[in-house]
């Protein structure tokens, strides 16, 4: 289908694609980066502006500046006057003369210097050129063709152009951040001798970019007071490339509304996932760091320079396997007990009619209402009378009791959702109610039961509050309490704390992920249905 409307729309989109790319090229060749290098400093105490001493020092500094000017620099002299009144009441002054050099550079001038950002810039330029070529190749002869009738090849070319522009768009912030990192952080770290590898190479590159290589050996001194600023105009690159990208998407799909919505959807999902995973990234990398690196005051490395696996063996010698075993006992025991008590109760709630059903429901809800902390005083008294204080068994019983409500609620929802006909048949065949439950209902409700089971297990595994009060003997601690031994008031051994946390987290996260599908169906059915 060839159409005049489509021709007009496509022509407009094509022009916008080209315009966006041209605009970004213009922006990239503008002097958006300004540097201020401090090449010479002279401090002169007890000098007053305009007096004799001032004149001599000033002349001295002028001479230095002239020397630099003779070499082709644009040197400027700054004066900083600091006046103080000393203890005798006299005014003293300190004039600091600095010879500064202001340099403006365009982003394009960083090309070929060899910074990480230069490579990003090169990739960005290549992508934009590629996008232009692909757009043109994908549109020749098909400018007035409705998008639905595009040939496979043309559609692919236009797709590729859009993808190239998307990547270029993503590289813009990468370029800006890398420059920030190199100029305002890395130089400082090198000058403070915190980084040593590649210092000479980096400084030589800086020399080439900023001073055309004339500083040679003095470059380290010159970079000492370097400040960099980029104009806000740099961020105009984003809208410029975005215009190209949207037009390219329009060339491909005819309308851009859907692609924009889809892009927003993925963006949102990625942001949510990154934020969610961030603490786990921190936990994992810190677990394998050396102690010195966890306490790194200069924030040098994003990843461990060396993965210290001995952290794991160290915590094994500090009781962690014992704690994990206790947790397993507590959580496993609590789960079995909660199920043994909960399944019959849920069965009765789902299938039988009796007086006091509402009372029982209220009773169960009330048990949910009180947090263990609020009851801790009562619980510890209770445990004292039962002689269960400071024991794994006591912890097990309490966890089972506090998870009853949730277990009954989940199980009842599952049972209600299963039709009672099969059980009726079993009852008529002479099975007792127990038989009907164990032989018919439980196998049918297995997925729901497993969900409830894992739920209780995880709750009991992660429980901290009751355990921290009830358990005083070290060998009876579950893992959640056990890890706190690595953080005392004066010192926290982060690497051990997180190595143990990692061991405590991995199993439950995997378990939880396995019931994720049932979570959506099981969670609210208990409360809503029946």
């Amino acid at each position: 289908m060839r159409d005049r409307e489509v021709l007009r729309a496509n022509r407009r989109a094509l022009i916008l694609v080209i315009l966006g790319v041209v605009l970004s090229m213009v922006l990239l060749s503008m002097p958006l980066y300004s540097f201020n290098a401090n090449v010479y400093t002279k401090k002169s105490p007890n000098t007053f502006v305009g007096d004799e001493k001032y004149q001599t020092v000033r002349a001295e500094v002028e001479a230095v500046a002239d020397e630099y000017r003779a070499q082709g620099f644009e040197a400027e002299i700054d004066e900083d006057v600091l006046e103080r009144v000393n203890s005798k009441g006299e005014t003293t002054s300190l004039i600091t003369f600095t010879v500064n050099e202001r340099i403006s550079k365009s982003p394009l001038s960083m090309l070929g210097i060899g910074f990480p950002s230069s490579r990003v810039l090169a990739a960005l330029l290549c992508l934009m050129a590629l996008a232009l070529v692909l757009t043109l190749a994908g549109i020749i002869g098909t400018l007035d063709l409705t998008q639905r009738y595009l040939s496979r090849r043309t559609a692919m070319l236009r797709n590729a152009a859009a993808v190239a522009l998307l990547l270029a768009l993503l590289l813009v912030p990468v370029f800006v951040l890398m420059n920030n990192y190199t100029f305002s952080r890395q130089i400082g770290l090198y000058n403070a001798d915190l980084l040593t590898d590649g210092k000479d190479a980096l400084f030589a590159k800086m020399d080439r970019l900023l001073f055309d290589g004339r500083m040679a050996d003095d470059i380290g001194k010159a970079l000492g007071g370097l400040t960099m600023q980029h104009s806000g105009m740099l961020w105009l690159l984003l809208p410029a490339i975005l215009v190209s990208l949207l037009s390219a998407a329009q060339l491909r799909y005819g309308s851009i509304q859907n692609s924009v919505l889809k892009a927003a959807l993925y963006f949102f999902v990625v942001v949510v996932c990154v934020v969610t995973l961030y603490p786990y990234y921190v936990m994992t990398i810190t677990a394998f760091r050396s102690n010195a690196e966890t306490l790194d005051m200069y924030f040098l490395h994003l990843f461990p320079t060396k993965w210290i696996w001995s952290n794991l063996s160290d915590i094994i010698h500090r009781g962690v396997p014992r704690y994990l075993f206790n947790s397993l006992l507590v959580a496993g025991g609590a789960t079995v007990l909660a199920m043994l008590c909960g399944i019959p109760a849920a069965y009765a709630m789902a299938r039988m009619k009796f007086k006091g059903k509402k009372v029982f429901l209220g009773f169960v809800i009330m048990s949910q209402m009180f947090s263990p902390v609020v009851l801790l005083i009562g619980i510890s008294q209770m445990m004292n009378t039962l002689h269960l204080n400071d024991s794994v068994l006591g912890l097990m019983l309490i966890n089972a009791a506090f998870n009853q409500a949730f277990a009954i609620w989940l199980l009842r929802g599952t049972f209600v959702s299963i039709s009672p006909e099969m059980e009726q048949a079993a009852l008529i065949d002479g099975c007792g109610t127990v038989g009907a439950l164990t032989k018919v209902l439980i196998p049918m409700a297995a997925p729901g039961i497993v969900t409830a089971l894992i739920f209780v297990f995880i709750n009991a595994w992660n429980e901290y509050t009751i355990a921290t009060v009830l358990i005083s003997t070290a060998s009876n601690r579950p893992i959640t309490v056990g890890i706190t031994q690595f953080s005392s008031f004066n010192m926290i051994e982060w690497q051990y704390l997180f190595a143990a946390s990692l061991l405590a987290t991995i199993p439950v996260v995997i378990l939880f992920m396995s019931i994720e599908k049932h979570l959506t169906s099981g969670l609210t059915s208990g409360g809503v249905k029946g």
Binding site: L177, Y181, R185, V269, V272, C273, L277, P279, Y280, V282, T286, F299, H301, L337, L340, C341, P344, A345, A348, R351, M352, K353, F354, F360, F363, V364, M366, S367, M369, F370, S371, V373, V374, L375, G378, I379, Q381, M382, A400, A401, F402, I408, Q424, T433, Y464, T465, I483, F498, S501, A504, T505, V508, L511, F512, M513, L519, T520, L523, T524, G527
Partner: protein, 295 residues
């Protein structure tokens, strides 16, 4: 509900018995003990004396930190439950769409829910450390900031961080509750609405919200209870410092009874907290039920 099972009048109660016993011994008895203690005189060593009427309650209300702690608890519950409900709802709406990698994204969303709160709070504690924390490290190494930022420069900010961690761990629960509600909505409803010319917002107000209201009710009621009772986050991150200024009722109560040995006021406070929860949950349940009856 059908009759063949009810052969014996007492049978249902036998089925319930184990559960009732378990809850009675380990939940209801402690509740009774706490109620009784809140009216008794308790010495610092924990010796329980006679009936003292409302003395413990008077003492609790007159504690210097009482007002701050109550206010903190109020803000803690309101902000965590409110913001996580909104965020969870939005996330559920998005995660209910079809997109590549939805399974993985949902599995990732489960992580904070499955992790122990102590561990979660410890990790965030490390992340926002000024001297060597991971947040400063990441931002500096990305070149986003030029100097390390003190993320916990005052106790108000620390309290906001605690609320943030609370929200972080609560959002998945809300999201999954809402997701389960969203999945029960018949797609034909939306199609009919589209045919009638309804836009995004009117579909949201007229179809989505009414249909997920039961799920939202469940998640909000449970969240109010859980968040009010939440202990490990505040305890791990600040221990209520400085001077109980970041304490919520639950952590304050813990400090009172196990560090300061003031068990009398502590038990009184437990009962106050319990009553507050009952009233909140009760009001909420009644309004929701009434609304459902009206419809």
């Amino acid at each position: 509900m059908y009759s063949p099972l009810n052969r014996n009048k007492w049978e249902p109660y036998i089925w319930l018995l184990p559960s009732i016993l378990l809850i009675a011994i380990f939940v209801i008895f402690p509740i009774i003990i706490v109620f009784k203690l809140s009216f008794s005189e308790i010495s610092k060593a924990g010796v329980i004396g006679g009936f003292v009427g409302f003395q413990n309650y008077k003492d609790a209300v007159q504690l210097p930190a009482f007002k701050t702690v109550m206010l903190n608890t109020f803000w803690w519950v309101i902000s965590v439950v409110g913001i996580s409900t909104v965020l969870g709802f939005i996330i559920a709406m998005v995660f209910n769409q079809k997109f590549h990698g939805r399974k993985i994204a949902r599995a990732i969303l489960v992580f904070p829910w499955a992790t122990s709160l102590v561990i979660q709070a410890s990790v965030w504690n490390y992340i926002i450390k000024y001297e060597y924390g991971s947040l400063n490290s990441v931002l500096l190494n990305l070149g986003i900031i030029k100097q390390a930022i003190n993320w916990r420069s005052s106790y108000q900010i620390e309290f906001i961080w605690e609320c943030g961690v609370g929200i972080f761990v609560t959002v998945p629960f809300v999201a999954f509750c809402v997701l389960s509600g969203l999945q029960s909505i018949d797609n034909s409803l939306y199609e009919a609405a589209t045919v009638d010319g309804a836009g995004f917002w009117s579909k949201l107000w007229r179809i989505t919200l009414p249909m997920v209201r039961p799920s939202l009710t469940v998640s909000t009621v449970l969240n109010i209870i859980y968040v009010f009772n939440s202990f490990p986050i505040v305890y791990t991150m600040t221990k209520g410092a400085p001077a109980n200024k970041t304490d919520t009722m639950i952590t304050y109560l813990y400090m009172l009874s196990f560090y300061e040995r003031k068990k009398g006021p502590a038990t009184a406070m437990s009962v106050i907290g319990f009553l507050i929860l009952c009233i909140c949950a009760g009001i909420y349940m009644i309004t929701v039920m009434r609304k459902e009856e009206e419809q």
